[in-house]
């Protein structure tokens, strides 16, 4: 590429008004941990969640003018869902997962004493959540782990309260059903 064809990146520098910068700071402080946790619970491993959380806020920094006051959390969460989905669909990520030691399968018969181990419990939870439909999983995680009310979830996701309640009910049924399978496997003393 000749230098003449190079884009003038220096000309693209833009100044963010101080008020926007303050707003971004506030968003970061108020929501970074929530977004990171959400990314983690959308199935990204910790190191990926680190990068993805940065990415979410980078995107927000460019869209401050279209994010309405009061809807910052909702915007960030929606962005996090998309970013997580993109990463999980990406070829490099799939290769990583394919080579990773996934450790525990849902019906694979854990020994009961293994279950007290935090790390394994977390891994198992990941596997259960991974097996759930994204819409159900989202509501489930927000309710059960973020301890949001169904009204708050309705507001965050901009969906009717009845839809939230319905998804939550289905998600809990599905979760309990998977847990029961695991429990049966554990009782069976399957190898792992």
């Amino acid at each position: 590429m000749t230098s003449a064809a190079l884009p003038d990146v220096r000309a693209a520098v833009q100044v963010i008004p101080a008020t926007d910068a303050d707003r971004l700071r506030a968003m970061f402080s108020a929501h970074f941990d929530f977004i990171w946790r959400s990314l983690r619970r959308f199935g990204l491993p910790e190191d990926r969640a680190d990068d993805a959380a940065q990415q979410v806020f980078f995107i927000a920094s460019r869209k401050l003018d279209v994010i309405e006051d009061g809807s910052e959390r909702s915007f960030l969460f929606g962005t996090a869902m998309r970013v997580a989905s993109d990463i999980r669909r990406s070829a490099p990520y799939r290769r990583e997962i394919a080579h990773a030691d996934v450790g525990i399968d849902l019906e694979g018969g854990l020994r009961p004493d293994d279950l007290v181990e935090q790390r394994r419990a977390r891994q198992l939870l990941d596997n259960v959540l991974d097996s759930m439909d994204l819409e159900l999983r989202t509501v489930f995680v927000l309710f059960e782990l973020e301890e949001m009310t169904t009204n708050e979830i309705s507001s965050l996701l901009s969906i009717p309260h009845g839809t939230v309640a319905s998804r939550l009910r289905r998600a809990r049924d599905e979760f309990q059903s998977k847990i029961e399978k695991i429990r049966r496997g554990a009782r069976g003393g399957g190898s792992r």
Partner: protein, 281 residues
Amino acid sequence: MTDPKRLVEGDDLGAELLASARADGPSRHARERAAMMLGVGVGIAAVTAGGTASAGVGAGAGAGAGAGAGAGAGAGAVAAKAAGIGIFAKVAVGAAVFVAVGGGVVVATKSSPRAPVVVAATTSTSTTTTTNTPAKAAVTIEPAATAPVETAPVAAAPVETAPVATVTARAVTGSPAKGAVAATSKEKEKSSELSRELRSLDAVRGAVDRGDGAGALVELDRHRRQFPNGALQNEANVLEVEALLKKGDEARAKQLARRLLDRDPSGPQAKRLKTIVGDTP
């Protein structure tokens, strides 16, 4: 209609699995890096998982870092308020910090009473965003219920856990917050090292911001000798791209940007680097 009881409140396997996620939370390092890359100067108070105790840290004048390996999953309640150069927040995960940065990497704010607000743009049309925001005279504090804190005039002296040590602010002082999580010595050491590395990169960023590309490259060379295995090598690399651009060496800048992209095509700086190499539509 009332919400159902949460499963985590039960005592079965499902509850146990759900409880295992209560420790979810970004590491302090991850938060620091993100703050740095975004260019947000943040002082964050640590709160235990239950969200009941806090330790105050103001940007540039923070008390000790609330380390807090533990995170609070459910303690999503965050009472954060931006305050020019610092934010005092109640967060779910213990952490305390720091940084003012920018340009996609690190920023220099050394002698200015104004807090830098520099955001790394990742759009296809922008590279670095820089502006200054007047630092407010005091960090807004929202005392935790169990840990009243008080403000005091402050010291602009550098604090290890608060790399943005030069910002005019007020210190958050007072008796230690009840239940505040103390940083372990190992974490402090790590934080100090990172703080030094950040400050070192500040010098590079400062030169870039002044338009002194050659000077920035000299600083960068010094930085790399000082921190050959630093945690912020990616940031240093991106700064090198910027320094080369400032120096007018666009060809080398693009070459390096392309190499960095090849190495990590989906990293947080990817979009920005793509802009530089001209791959973004």
